[in-house]
Symmetry: C2
Subunit: 435 residues, 2 copies
């Protein structure tokens, strides 16, 4: 039976799961695959700790020497689960040059250096597989690469950060303030001690950069993507949105427009009944619109030890079968592709929700409506609180607009927030996604 | 640039779409693929009709000679979209023996002769690709074959017949009787003039046979699968189900049990909130439960010219890339696999809904409850009509049971239907799916 030697770099949550699947399911995997994955090295700094934790057979060498597996000709594939960018990039680069294929879940690294690393892989006649980098167990990378290869993708967008989705779901269901929902997510292990990468949207930006490259065949860099996180969302917005018929989700959005691509990560209102609106908790979901297939939606667990480890092992299997290498070397998405032409956010047209804190006085609405009118923004609906709460002199007014230009809306809001009857510090704006 | 010569057998709705994609999108496909699909033959009986309809370039030969393309060494792949079994099987067999790979959407043929045809393909060192045979544009075959190769699949089930789903959706939303919903589906082109294959469940049985082979690595024959269609569903059942918190769908279900597989196609009640409950109209959806990935759900258009044609072209692309041939020759699912061990339906345990027509008389419920009790079936809830409708002497009573053995339930219902206070001809039973 054919063998495929594996060196695993980084044996944390996901890496430990990968080791367990390869070792614990040797027989079943070989049966399904017709060849055998052999775990030869586990590379990690925490030697003593892991030696106690892991029950490795003698055939697996535990080491903290980053270079040793790269010199071993029995190693066919390097799995990079170190995270971070500097050491990870160096391991991947050396592995490729040493003739090893690479599997990684490192979306931050791919977003920053994907083109360079893909180039090294092609030069070295090797491949980089990265199914686990986006949406855990949802085979969206395979779908983009292979199942939808005949499609002209019109849009790809989705919920790709389970932490944020968990927080927003709890804020909505439990009417919790942001900080409480976040700390609940941390207690349950969904959020890191430092949650900034998740809640500020960076993680979703990285994933969108990876997805958009495959979907649209262009190079997308982090700085091409507009980013807005969820940390300033208030339960009131979820409540008002709900009463207007919407659910709030953090979305990563790529849309083919006339003059280029829309690329953006931000909290977005989805009408109830939209296929992503009901995706709650830590689940992920991705919608793809193709010109032939129409809308296809993929839903599943986006993170966690087992779903992510399963995606890594699926990549290992494709490499053991030698199918992935062919796709990687043949498909132009992995070669040098043109840089994405991005439509500036200001020029996009969509619908908006905004919430204002107004002095409870006659004529205020007329002044707000006047500013909106001058900027050619028309109001679709409006919810106004009956009267100010005790101890408050402001009332809340919520507007939904018809489609408007982002630039115009921003100018109008800036002007409105300067009005003496408005408490500008408490204004909030959210975008509606109607794809 | 590499070339891949294609002969298209059958140029109806889907075949015409395939020809249009290959011809109309030559440049884009070559860009995305790094090699070129060349349509060389269109084989169809309707020569005169098609010559008028199709605008084929001179490089494409239109013929009704089934053998001519098989003698042409430039033809690399045969696309079989003839439908039916006899001619289709013969074309596929000859094509494989002539050294051509095959793409087909023919689930009825694969369900009946998959093992034999796969065997011929492996003998001939060729492959049979069949993404378009199940759930149109949803890449479920690719997911089973490749993305989930590392998984132990616990269950795969879904809505795989768009016609039935359209009919049930309309019966539910519009409170239409079955015949009206069916004729609406026919007017809209969702249902054939003879809808039996769809509405009696055969089409779903064929698709489940194909899916279950990949998911569980066993041979599944049509006769292994319990089949029950939707033609005797009444709007009243959808209404009662709704008020109990359920939606009715025709499901194809494969579940790994202790002693074998559960394989069944029947109308099933899904609790509101289940990921498949909201999938309406002609859409399809498939849920897969794997031991690592948890639940993954795929949703999209399951039929129609473009989604199905897109799936065929995706298979052609995989063959042009020569990745599919490797998977087909290496993965044991395509080789001889053991025959499925199927758990008899009578031994399964699930929850049931049933609706009785009872004489409006004291003591009737007690007699029904007595029979259920003797068969160890306990009632979870019950809806009873207040009184008989004018002109009727019967009232409707609806029961939901706790989990019970199918055999016991059937025995109990047979006994109940014999009671003199029950109109047995009007009794209905539906299964609840709690996966």
């Amino acid at each position: 039976m054919k063998q495929c030697g594996v060196a695993l770099y980084g044996c944390g949550t996901v890496g430990g799961g990968v080791a367990e699947i390869i070792l614990g399911r040797r027989g079943a995997l070989a049966d399904r695959l017709g060849s055998r994955l052999r775990l030869l090295y586990v590379v990690d700094k925490r030697l003593r700790e892991l030696a106690g934790e892991l029950d490795l057979p003698p055939s697996v060498r535990l080491t903290d020497d980053l270079d040793e597996p790269l010199r071993d000709p029995d190693v066919d594939v390097v799995v990079e689960l170190l995270g971070g960018k500097t050491v990870a990039a160096s391991v991947i680069e050396k592995a490729l040059r040493a003739g090893k294929d690479v599997v990684t879940a490192n979306k931050a690294l791919l977003a920053a250096q994907g083109t360079r690393l893909f180039g090294i892989a092609r030069e070295s006649k090797r491949s980089i597989a990265f199914e686990a980098s986006v949406a855990g167990c949802i085979p969206i990378i395979a779908a983009m690469r292979s199942a939808m290869v005949a499609e002209r993708v019109e849009s790809v967008y989705g919920i790709v950060n389970g932490t944020c989705n968990y927080i927003l779901t709890r804020m909505s269901e439990g009417a919790l303030p942001y900080e409480e929902a976040l700390s609940e997510a941390q207690q349950r292990g969904y959020a890191e001690a430092d949650p900034a990468l998740d809640v500020e949207g960076d993680d979703s930006v990285h994933k969108l950069a990876v997805l958009a490259r495959l979907a649209f065949g262009v190079e997308v860099r982090e700085e091409d993507i507009y980013r807005e996180g969820i940390s300033s969302i208030e339960p009131a917005d979820l409540r008002y949105a709900h009463s207007l018929g919407y659910t709030l989700k953090l979305l990563a959005i790529g849309i083919r427009g006339g003059d280029g691509l829309e690329l953006r990560v931000h909290p977005a209102l989805l009408r109830h009944g939209h296929p992503l609106a009901a995706v709650g908790g830590a689940r992920n979901a991705v919608c793809v619109h193709g010109d032939s297939v129409g809308e296809v939606v993929f839903t599943g667990l986006g993170a966690g030890r087992w779903p992510t480890a399963s995606a890594v092992v699926a990549d290992l299997c494709r490499i053991a079968l030698k199918t992935y290498q062919r796709e990687f070397s043949e498909l132009p998405q992995f070669a040098e592709v043109p840089r994405a032409r991005v439509i500036p956010l200001e020029e996009l047209r969509m619908r908006y929700y905004f919430r204002l804190s107004c002095l409870d006085r006659a004529g205020v609405l007329a002044r707000v409506a006047g500013v909106l009118g001058r900027h050619e923004i028309s109001i679709a609906s409006c919810i106004q609180q009956d009267q100010a709460l005790p101890g408050e002199e402001h009332v809340t007014v919520v507007f939904m607009t018809h489609e408007a230009r982002e630039g115009a809306l921003r100018d109008a809001l800036a002007e409105i927030n300067e009005l003496d009857c408005i408490d500008g510090s408490r204004a909030r704006m959210l975008r509606v996604v109607d794809v």
